[in-house]
Symmetry: C2
């Protein structure tokens, strides 16, 4: 990509569409049994998407990889946020993923990369990756953060120190005083100030998107055969309850989608296949479950 | 109660505390196996409550009956809603119930009665009962609405025609375009205009609270032994997913509680023991599941 040429929304959209293809292929290969099913959908106001879901694979119990490109009249709240007094058109495209594994020793993962552009010229990138292990294992957590730091550092030494705390803040469940998992990176409103800067930001977002498959297949390969029993399964189901609570009560993307007539089934691809709630559950002191909870409450 | 004597907040609080006792006793008797466990808690800002939960009974799989009486400084948003410019104290008390049964042929039920009073003198009652059958059965639904209508009509012929549509509107899941269940009654901001009127409103709220046990034990007795299989259980788990979606995304009480540092475990006593999500699930045409869905989408 030559830096002084302008990156178009079509360039970005094509990258996202292909990213979805590549990620689904990598996940199917790593799973070995599960196959994605695809639903294409249209948005009444303009655009649409391709939702791909996988169920009851060998490693993945339920997962969704969504790609969408939607456009139309910007909502009042978008116009207000941008200080625009006249109607304007928006264009938004992105890839969004949540994977719930069978084995409680494999973490839940979430990734999102997105691009937003207004007919007024305003445009920005956003996204992030975060990991939600049912059991926090230090070695696995370190590897994840190191991988993300390496991706970030390739583009800007300030990215990781900025985007890691942003994830810690974003993926927090206030009513539980717990983080959703071990965090990762989160970024939004990355606004290009020049063509060269836009190419630079796009390259970073591409790298984040491309990092998803190697990161998650690493855990799929390494942890898929780790032993577990009823106790670990029960804990997984309770932690999935927390995942549901975060997504439905606090996640801005989910709330915005549900409140603005997004395609419900695509938005709620993030829901686990099963989640449990036990009143006032406290794991045994010093158990692996209690240790995980202590780390999430730090 | 003599109508020209003023009903005090202590009268109402005492009624709610005893209502919790009576309801828990009636539910234990009807269940025959499950026993309530009690947690008392204090609110840092003032007051507290008694949360009673029952798990793995013969009929009730998971249920909570909460009583609370809390007071302290009113929040900014309360003051604004009442057009008050000076700080003021609030006092709030109520009973709140959600019961998730074992058998999918027994409905989920929710009841709430509450009273709110400000140091400025503003005071009002609120509450409601609504039923969420996993399978809508016309006879059962009619009986429920008839019972509520009888309770309402004893007090005011306009209550049922006002409070039934209010429930239909309140217990609606916009992102599913479904009602949560078959509705019931819902009311709020019932403000006394005189001592006699307050006694009249309190008598109505007492009657609503007292209706809970006979209504729910009716379904417990009649439906507890109805046959069901894996198919009905699966459907129940999916419908519980909708219950979770309503409570976490749309229910104002739940959202308000979680956003204002209420006691999380008491607020989320409404969560089912287990809930499932299947991507884009459609029941077979003309099946009992499809028929229920059609009724909820009307």
């Amino acid at each position: 990509m030559i830096a002084d040429q302008s990156i178009t929304k079509e360039d970005i959209t094509t990258f996202f569409a292909e990213l979805q293809d590549r990620i689904c292929q990598a996940l199917e290969e790593a799973d070995g049994a599960g196959v994605f099913r695809e639903d294409t959908w249209e948005r009444p106001g303009g655009g649409g998407g391709r939702s791909r879901t996988i169920t009851n694979g060998a490693v993945i119990e339920k997962g969704g990889v969504g790609y969408s490109v939607v456009h139309g009249e910007a909502t009042e709240s978008t116009l207000r946020a941008l200080n625009l007094s006249e109607p304007a058109e928006f264009y938004a495209t992105g890839v969004s993923i949540v994977i719930h594994p069978q084995n409680p020793m494999v973490p839940i993962i979430h990734m999102n990369v997105r691009y937003f552009e207004m007919s007024t010229g305003h445009n920005w990138f956003g996204g992030g990756i975060d990991l939600t292990p049912h059991y926090v294992v230090e070695k696995d957590a370190r590897w994840f953060h190191q991988y993300l730091k390496t991706v970030c550092d390739r583009h800007d030494p300030t990215h990781y120190p900025t985007f890691k705390p942003w994830a810690d803040e974003y993926f927090f469940i206030p009513h539980r005083q717990e983080t959703r998992g071990i965090g990762g990176i989160f970024f939004d409103y990355l606004k290009p100030t020049s063509n060269a800067h836009k190419a630079h930001l796009f390259a970073f977002v591409q790298d984040v998107g491309n990092a998803f498959a190697p990161i998650y297949t690493y855990y799929m390969h390494n942890n898929r055969d780790l032993p577990f029993g009823e106790r670990e399964k029960n804990w997984q189901l309770l932690r999935r309850g927390r995942y549901v609570e975060f997504n439905l009560v606090w996640d801005r993307g989910t709330k915005f989608g549900l409140e603005t007539n997004g395609r419900t089934e695509s938005i709620l691809m993030s829901m686990p296949p099963q989640a449990n709630w036990t009143y006032d559950y406290h794991p045994e002191t010093n158990s692996p479950e209690a240790q995980t909870l202590n780390l999430l409450r730090k």
